[in-house]
């Protein structure tokens, strides 16, 4: 099977993010492989291990994003490609998805493209579906289990959870699959994997290389970024000698407020 996994380099979720005058900062916290993408890499590797083939990791970003790709290589991906061009500096998901789709087309003969459910920085969760539409492929979103993958018949079936129901989706390959955490347990890179990745030369593709002669402008502007409004509440602490007394007081207050 010829498998692609699309990854992004993001700020670590453990970083302390602050916003001041519209400027976002995370201090000197390191950038990492988007945590949700680790599940996508793992699923790509599991698919290859079960059915043979090759896994290529693709990212769009600056030079530094090669570190995220090296993490994917260290986990076991066979090849990595960085899409890098100043034309993508202000790219939004619509532009990024065009670039990723063009790269997948350039690679050719791809059966499966895995994505994490969303990137932890932009948190939009739209890119996978946009790439799929661009390629004219179905997108199987939020997969929590791959139930069948049959390269011979060129079919896949996944399970996903929706509000109040569980669905089984079946599709012909090629297809885009976005995955949630429940799908697997990402492996740690092996020592050999890390050594191999550290020596890897990651090719760079420009907008021209992937056939995007003109990079469209972003469809969104974000005139304002700010810290979420704080709820202005004065917490009324309920105290008492014993748990029963505290519980009784609270129950009375909630009844007064008519919320129970």
């Amino acid at each position: 099977m010829n498998i692609v996994v699309c990854v992004k380099q993001t700020v670590d979720t453990a970083a302390t993010v602050t916003v001041s005058d519209g400027e976002i900062s995370w201090g000197d916290a390191p950038l990492v492989l988007n945590p949700w993408d680790e599940y996508a890499v793992e699923q790509a590797l599991l698919s290859k291990e079960a059915h043979g083939g090759k896994v290529t990791a693709i990212s769009l970003g600056p030079e530094g994003a090669k570190d995220a790709l090296k993490q994917a290589l260290a986990m076991g991906c066979d090849e990595a490609i960085l899409i890098k061009d100043a034309a993508f500096d202000d790219a939004d998901s619509l532009v990024v998805s065009k670039a990723l789709a063009a790269s997948i087309t350039k690679l050719g003969e791809i059966d499966l493209a895995f994505f994490g459910r969303q990137a932890v920085d932009s948190d939009t969760g739209v890119t996978f579906a946009q790439v799929a539409r661009r390629l004219g492929w179905p997108a199987l979103s939020l997969a929590s289990k791959v139930e069948e993958l049959d390269p011979g018949a060129q079919t896949i079936a996944v399970e996903r959870m929706l509000e109040g129901s569980r669905q089984r989706l079946r599709s012909k390959l090629p297809v885009v699959v976005s995955v949630v955490k429940e799908i697997n347990e990402p492996r740690y890179p092996s020592f050999m994997g890390i050594r191999k990745a550290s020596r890897a030369e990651i090719p760079e593709w420009s907008a021209g290389d992937i056939g995007l002669a003109e990079v469209p402008k972003a469809a969104l502007s974000w005139p304002k970024v700010f810290a979420p409004p704080k709820i202005e509440t004065e917490c009324e602490f309920i105290e008492g000698e014993a748990a029963e007394e505290i519980a009784t007081k609270l129950a009375d207050r909630l009844l007064e407020e008519k919320v129970i």
Partner: protein, 319 residues
Amino acid sequence: MSGVLVYSENDSHVQTLASWSADHADTLGPVSVAVLGKDAGNRAEQHRGSGASRVFVNEAPGLEGLAEDVVSSALAQIAKQADADLILLSATRRGRSLASRLAQELDSGCVSEAIEVGIEDGRLITGRYALGGNTVSREVILTPLKVVAVTPGTVEGSGSGAVEGEIISAELSLPEPRMMIVERNPKPASTVNIAESDRLVCVGRGLAQQEDLKLIEDLAAELAGEVACTRPLSSEYGWVSEERMIGISGEKCNPQLILSLGVSGQVQHTVGIMGAKTIVAVNSDPNAPIFKLADYGIVGDLYEVVPALADALKQRGAN
């Protein structure tokens, strides 16, 4: 703007979005609703009075499972027929994926999970969380066509814009579905919709072991409410099913009452409870951030407070 097209697989979300749109028809233009799939004709009736002047209906067999690729194609065509330049969807799990695909199909800007929707100077402005709830990004879509998936509970309609909408059978040329929904069963006993529950009992890391969930379930039963949780209990420990997880990567809720038990109050979680009317926090750490947004706080051991509270509620016949 030339008009709005509202769609969701959830009929009550459709009514809210259509009613809100009708309240802003001066700016947004006339409101249309799309009702697709099984029984669409009958379901359309309830939307005639929700503020929509036109209700587009299509019951094609290919739409039965509401697979996103076919629905996206249907909505792109209906938007054109309705002359709508704004497509409002509900940010359910399917809705977010649908919005993304539709935006690519229309080459339009997309906001996939708006927590604010407003109109300023005749422009639509949306807000959404980014960076795990640490920031709100206020955005303007620059393309002529706009796709916005609105988080349930974000907007309300007055209902005053109700009109007798005309039902139109939409002529569509649909692609052969490549993705099939081959099985669809309600979830096992745990079927729950946290986003629409009025009373929630949300438990966090303060819970020591899975067996102790019984305490939390008993309290929820006294309140006739639902058990919810923070991310570790679902994603890391697997004690509670994922659809009960509240936060940036889980559900956003708008209950009358939420009891937060042993929840520290990290922003990735608290963005999901901003819509709650009354927040009660129980935590043994008096400096836990959750107390900063709670209406009532109890500094104490949840293992003592929870059973006592369940008793107190039982005596009052709270539910």
